[in-house]
């Protein structure tokens, strides 16, 4: 096992990793920017080191300073959390060149998982169902039109390096494709420094279902109960639950087994997530997320397995002791991402003057915020993840309603009202929702 781990992230995920390391008796050193230096979670690690100014480019993305911090603090591993450098295969490679263990899959696997067009092509060749679309990158509008004509409208144009809804356009007819192609390319270039696009069939009103997997270096892979992440706004997840209210045992088994096959095909190790679109009785592979995800707590509660501790142990070379039959659904869980945002749903910076967090039976709160914390314009605007669990879905939802009622945030505006509206919705209560749920909600 590792002796000392550098936590190369911030906020709630940094704290989540610090907590896991503490329970594993592994020393932790957390990096911070100048803006985060006085945040309470930095004091919960065994040590902290400021690596740069508030701008992420100077600190949380500053590879040389992060590696230097790991070296001078004598860390034998780096946990990248999610976001920032978590899926940067160059960073993973650089860690290895300095003899530092990267807590995640190999650089080669991260690189393949990050190249969406290539991984889709691989899955097609291996007969894993994928959404029909272009073979790799589409270099011109002319070719985009040809692909769209072949697979039929509506289609979706996506950035190969994309994520979080950026560089993505839905096109319903040929007259709109030229403008959409140009806009998606410009957005992708701006966001990811890579304007490569691909085109695929747009599946109307699907469910976004993802499967958490864990894999060791010997090739053993297990899957966990699915997460339903269909409640999205602008392709950003808002609320997640596990298990999905509309996935039966047959589909669950099919998705789980496919996710394990995907992981094996790309030599995946540690923990990761395979995302699928599910429409009626069909499913399509979407992408592999080579990191721990924001919504991992719902799976932890449903399976009663600590995924961060498992991730660290697997990165340290331990064998996966879990057998597929060991993984059971012991409850139902729901997660609400509480963000600071204005009336136009745009991230909003400011100081949290007062923060009262919910508690009581069946409530877990993952946050690094307290009263007086600042929502910095330099980072994402998530205040907290509220996760509830119950013996069944209805109990988990009722607990979430109660938890959100108990939660008080003053000083910044939040999306709590949106969550309350979702939880009150009849279709949501019935478990009848797809990715267009928020757009259609009355």
């Amino acid at each position: 096992m590792f002796k000392k781990v550098l936590v190369a992230n911030r906020g709630e995920i940094a704290l989540r990793v610090i907590r896991a390391l503490r329970e594993m008796s592994v020393k932790s050193v957390v990096i911070c920017s100048e803006a985060d230096k006085n945040n309470f979670y930095c004091g919960l690690a065994d040590d902290s080191v400021c690596v740069g100014a508030a701008q992420a480019a100077s600190s949380y993305l500053n590879i040389s300073q992060i590696i230097s911090a790991a070296l001078v603090k004598k860390c034998d591993a780096i946990h990248p959390g999610y976001g920032f450098l978590a899926e940067n295969h160059h960073f993973a490679e650089i860690c290895a060149s300095y003899g530092i263990n990267f807590i995640g899959p190999s650089p080669e696997t991260i690189a393949l998982a990050g190249q969406k067009a290539e991984i889709i092509d691989l899955m097609k060749r291996k007969k894993i169902p994928v959404v029909p679309g272009s073979k790799g990158v589409v270099p011109s509008v002319k070719e985009a039109k040809a692909v769209a004509a072949a697979i039929k409208y509506p289609v979706i144009i996506k950035a190969t390096a994309g994520g979080g809804g950026k560089g993505m356009r839905i096109v319903r007819s040929e007259k709109d494709i030229e403008q959409a192609f140009e806009l998606a390319g410009a957005e992708a270039k701006n966001a990811f420094s890579n304007a490569d696009l691909y085109v695929e069939k747009y599946i109307e009103a699907p469910r976004h279902i993802e499967i958490q997997i864990a894999a060791d270096k010997k090739g053993k892979v297990v899957f966990f109960p699915e997460r339903d992440c269909s409640i999205q706004r602008n392709h950003q997840k808002v609320l997640e639950e596990s298990p999905s209210p509309q996935i039966g045992p047959k589909m669950r088994k099919k998705l789980g087994e496919t996710a394990c096959r995907v992981a094996k095909l790309i030599n995946y190790t540690t923990v990761g997530t395979v995302e699928f679109l599910v429409s009626k009785d069909k499913f399509y592979f979407m992408e592999m997320n080579a990191r721990i995800q924001v919504e991992h707590p719902v799976t932890e509660l449903v399976s009663d397995i600590d995924l961060v501790k498992l991730q660290i142990a697997l990165a340290a070379g331990e064998d996966l002791k879990l057998k597929q039959d060991d993984i059971k659904e012991i409850c139902h869980s729901v997660e609400c991402r509480i963000n600071s945002e204005d009336e136009n749903y745009m991230p909003s910076a400011g100081v949290i003057e007062k923060l009262i967090l919910p508690g009581g039976p069946g409530v877990r709160v993952d946050t690094a915020m307290t009263s007086g914390s600042e929502i910095s314009p330099f980072y994402d605007s998530m205040i907290a993840k509220i996760i509830t669990y119950g013996r069944n879905r209805a109990e988990a939802i009722e607990r979430m309603k109660r938890a959100l009622m108990e939660m008080k945030i003053e000083g910044v505006t939040t999306n709590i009202a949106l969550h309350q509206k979702i939880l009150q919705d009849k279709n949501f209560a019935d478990g009848c929702y797809t990715t267009d749920f928020i757009g259609l909600m009355k």
Binding site: C50, V51, N62, S64, Q65, V72, K73
Partner: protein, 182 residues
């Protein structure tokens, strides 16, 4: 590559006066080799592209920063400050003239690394010493790259806040100095 590749700022030259020398590495260099090559040269600016990786390293001179000291402590005697020439200090929204004879400034670490106050057997600076602009007063070793701390004004060193070979973080105060009109 799907996310940002990070950047490589805050690297200081052997001499901050070195000319800017853009360089391209050969395609086989990896990050560690690049850092080793940079550590052994006085290259100031470096650009490297390999596949989807693009690295830009700019070595900028260490700046002496005002900060951490309470503004009141910096301002000292306001009656004197009103008539004193030279330095201006931002105090919230206000900009005030300060007495440069009593002004304490701080010099902060440009990088995470190991601080050195000596060069082999030669002590580079000590408390009470009067230093001239351009003088090397210490250095930080960050991943094998030497980042010299150069005085950008004539001053007296009033405090050295880190021990020789101490691990320092970015922005950590290394020196306190008092500017002198020489």
């Amino acid at each position: 590559m799907k996310k940002n590749t990070g950047n490589f700022q805050n690297l200081q030259p052997e001499s901050p006066r070195s000319s800017v020398t853009p360089k391209k590495a050969n395609d086989d260099l990896d990050f560690k080799e690049i850092m080793e090559v940079l550590g052994a040269t006085d290259v100031c600016e470096f650009e490297y592209s390999k596949g989807d990786m693009h690295i830009v390293i700019k070595k900028e001179p260490v700046s002496i920063m005002l900060g951490e000291i309470e503004p009141e402590a910096i301002l000292g005697n306001t009656a004197k400050a009103e008539s004193a020439p030279g330095l201006k200090v931002r105090h919230g929204e206000r900009e005030e003239q300060v007495d440069t004879h009593s002004c304490i400034e701080t010099i902060k670490s440009p990088a995470v690394g190991t601080f050195y106050i000596s060069d082999g057997d030669i002590l580079l600076s000590s408390v009470g010493e009067k230093i001239k602009k351009g003088r090397k007063i210490g250095w930080v070793n960050s991943m094998g790259i030497r980042q010299d701390i150069i005085a950008d004004k004539n001053a007296e060193i009033t405090a050295i806040l880190c021990k020789d070979r101490e691990v320092v973080e970015w922005g950590q105060t290394l020196f306190e100095i008092k500017e002198e009109n020489v």
